[in-house]
Symmetry: C2
Subunit: 169 residues, 2 copies
Amino acid sequence: MPKPFPPCPFQKLSPSQLKRDDRFFMQLAYNQALEAWHLGEVPIGAVIVHEGTVIASAHNRVEASKDPTAHAEILAITQAAHALGDWRLNGTRLYVTKEPCPMCSGATVMSRIDTVIYGVKDPKMGCMGGAYPVQELPQLNHKVKTLPGIFEEECHELLQTFFALKRAN
Amino acid sequence: MPKPFPPCPFQKLSPSQLKRDDRFFMQLAYNQALEAWHLGEVPIGAVIVHEGTVIASAHNRVEASKDPTAHAEILAITQAAHALGDWRLNGTRLYVTKEPCPMCSGATVMSRIDTVIYGVKDPKMGCMGGAYPVQELPQLNHKVKTLPGIFEEECHELLQTFFALKRAN
């Protein structure tokens, strides 16, 4: 297998299990993003939590699987649905390092996720507040709550560095 | 396997191969929607066409696969990407019996589909003009064209009948 390009200068995190708060779960999503980088993918990662337990962990795999739907969030949502045995993910929290794109923002609504917690805002493509708030469409049956800016600086630096190194080469 | 409920009162179509126009391909999507009904799913179907050839056909499978991402369009997009060996679906046309939901509308943007042709508008959840036009977000790299209202009456009757029969029981 070819070496990932550019090589990843960041290290995986080992957040303390003593405080399983939003920052803790976002660090798990961040570790997933590093996995994506190691595979040469845009480094975005996601985890889904149900009653304090991680039921899904995934990262972007668009290039590896040659599938435009293989975003971290979509893969995590499918995993979570299998874990719960139901396509309705009520009561779950999705942690993702970057604000979801139009597709993934819509997926959080359709899958009835309770809350989407994201790291860095995406004013260009983000559809949970950055470019547009799809969760605020007036006639939706299900309202997704959003919580932006958790572990934001680190998530931002990760993406910024990835694209800077890509451009530099 | 339990019988589909309610039973489907519509017949599959056999459109003439002599005129492979938008109406022709939408009838193939309609046949996919009937397949969904036979499985007890909300009857929505999709096909993707590249250079006049159908490269993907799929229908809604949310209930059967217990996966909220298993909409006709998402499944068809994954199939089409595999068929082309590339996640970028430039030059393809997606035919779908109902206006795409927030997730699927976003997926058409992210997968760089050329044109989305849909049957019936969805003013509540449709994100290609009905409730919101996601393809018109100002900063998108890729602009998806839309063509609503093809084979609209039949697609509308199909969905309307499905929900009426569901409610009646």
